[in-house]
């Protein structure tokens, strides 16, 4: 603990690390099923706003806010997922970014919009200013407990029929369908689970940072969540967890670099991904790196196979 604090990892940083680990896992679920969805930031904002409105405007306890945020995101994931998950790769990524942007703009204009519909002055999302003065009621143990439960679910998922179906869908959708797997159902279920996790992270985080505004959940946040998962590695669920930890801690640990912080941060990101393309948690990657470092030659493919 003492050591962690001395390198800049205070309790609040640790709390952010835990939250970003949850976000990393929400990304992991979709990536593991072969869906390059960047909707998580959008669902995070839906969760955050729902949760905060429940705790602030309706005086509910945090756990009600949490469940409420998760439920709303989960329900909204259905009409979004059904049309959008037919898309693949970059198309899916962009469509989901589009979803995030539309959510952002709707939250931004919610009060005006609701005001003009109801004819009364509405003050719920409070536009660009966002909601401030949210009490800080999320505690470290909430986050840790949530993460432990999530981790357990991940482990069980991988040993279940559904988890195997997820992997099959990632590798070959038509072949999976011919095995009797309902591809549409699998993808949408995972999308919902991912949305629910992202929303939970949103609620918990909102009650940590005391203020939320639509700008927090834009393109940058979506890309960061992706980076947690990919830098950590998506071959096991531990990767995104570690990725979330590392990418959150890094800028804080590097504070002493002052104006060179960004350069060091960028270089580290670049070096890690270039030398460990499979992410930080990927034994095969480390052993390859080790052989390379020892200068052992092997029958390397000269030109990559891309198909």
């Amino acid at each position: 603990m003492e050591f962690l604090r001395s390198i800049g990892i205070t309790e609040i940083v640790m709390q952010f690390m835990l939250i970003n680990a949850i976000l990393g896992l929400s990304m992991y679920l979709v990536l593991y099923t072969g869906m390059f969805s960047l909707a998580n930031a959008g669902f995070m904002s839906i969760g955050a706003y729902t949760g905060v409105i429940l705790t602030q405007n309706f005086d509910q306890p945090l756990w009600v806010g949490l469940l409420g945020g998760m439920a709303v995101a989960g329900v909204l994931a259905v009409p979004i997922g059904l049309p959008v998950l037919r898309l693949k790769d970059i198309y899916l990524a962009i469509a989901t970014i589009g979803f995030g942007e539309v959510v952002r703009i709707l939250i931004l204009n919610f009060d005006t919009l609701a005001g003009s519909l109801t004819g009364e002055s509405v003050r719920l999302t409070r536009g660009a200013l966002g909601i401030t003065g949210i009490p800080k009621i999320t505690e470290t143990w909430h986050l840790a407990a949530f993460l432990v439960v999530t981790g357990f679910i991940m482990i069980r998922l991988h040993r279940s029929r559904f988890g195997r179906a997820m992997a099959a869908v990632r590798q070959d959708e038509p072949a999976a369908a011919n095995m009797g797997i309902n591809v549409v159902y699998t993808k949408n279920m995972v999308f919902i689970m991912s949305a629910v996790l992202a929303a939970a992270a949103g609620v918990l985080k909102a009650h940590l940072t005391r203020t939320i505004s639509p700008g927090d959940y834009g393109f940058d946040q979506a890309v960061s969540i992706l980076a947690f998962a990919v830098l950590g590695g998506t071959s096991t669920w531990v990767g995104p967890l570690v990725g979330g930890f590392v990418l959150t801690a890094l800028p804080e640990v590097l504070r002493d670099f002052k104006q060179y912080r960004g350069i060091v941060n960028g270089s580290i990101l670049l070096l890690v991904i270039v030398y460990l393309p499979g992410g930080l948690v990927n034994p095969a990657g480390w052993s390859q790196l080790w052989t390379r470092l020892r200068g052992k030659k092997q029958g390397d493919t000269l030109t990559a196979e891309v198909s």
Partner: protein, 253 residues
């Protein structure tokens, strides 16, 4: 068992299947041959639900299946292999076989979460079936290896085993011996015949290797430009001048 009634499939302007009528009786091996691009793979895609006919009907044991999604069709008991191997390459051979039994299971995520007896029983059953299949297809040695790294021959066998994992009644094989030498081809033929004899399967097989066709088929359909141009026993087909002209060519041997 399987009946196709004037099935047609149009790709833009291209008539890939044109009024195809076909009957695959239970317990038989039916062969489907024809020049490259005749529409054979398209036909199998339509039966297995990856693609849907523009018009016409496909009946399986009397039930129309041509508009059903592929996983329904799989659960009804139709399994297939692919012209280009499509294993789940990043998974082990064993996992491939576990997945193949997906439609046969019913345990939900919740069952898995709290280890219900149903989940435990089902997992045990899946694993037992998988090891049976591994044994039958001589894959026990490689059960724990990544499917994508297996030698080609093992992959072909694994794909067949995986198709059987869905516990089908009808098996569709798309060029199962592509890339095999004659000796390996004959062994595969034996295996197909065993499936029919011992497991009571019905098989529809696409092949270009006429020796296999002769070895296993009870009846053959010949497709050309999306149309059935001939139908009959292997010997009839071998002598059919239209088939020789369009497909077989003059045997030079």
């Amino acid at each position: 068992m399987l009946e196709l009634r004037s099935v047609s499939r149009l790709f833009g302007g291209l008539q890939a299947l044109n009024q195809v009528n076909m009957l695959v009786p239970a317990g038989k091996v039916v062969g489907l041959i024809g020049p490259n691009g005749a529409g054979k793979t398209t036909l199998i895609n339509n039966i297995s639900g990856l693609d849907h006919p523009t018009s016409g009907e496909i009946l399986f044991n009397g039930t129309p299946i041509h508009m059903r999604p592929p996983h329904h069709i799989a659960q009804l008991g139709i399994a297939r292999t692919y012209q280009n191997i499509r294993l789940f390459g990043e998974m082990t051979a064993l996992e491939n076989l576990l997945i193949s039994q997906h439609g046969r299971g019913s345990a939900s995520i919740l069952d898995a979460l709290v280890f219900t007896p149903r989940y435990l029983r089902e997992e045990r059953r899946l694993r037992d079936t998988a090891s049976d299949l591994l044994e039958r297809f001589h894959l026990t040695q490689v059960a724990k290896l990544r499917a994508g790294n297996l030698p080609y021959g093992d992959q072909r066998r694994l794909e067949m085993a995986r198709a059987l994992g869905t516990q089908p009644k009808l098996l569709l094989l798309d060029e199962p011996t592509a890339g095999m030498n004659p000796v390996e081809t004959e062994a595969l033929g034996e295996q197909i015949l065993r499936l029919v004899r011992e497991d009571g399967l019905t098989v529809l097989v696409i092949e270009h290797d006429m020796s296999l066709i002769h070895q296993v088929c009870d009846e053959i359909y010949v497709l050309n430009f999306g149309q059935i141009i001939a139908q009959g026993t292997p010997d009839e087909i071998k002598r059919n001048p239209q088939v020789i002209e369009a497909y077989l060519g003059q045997d030079e041997e």
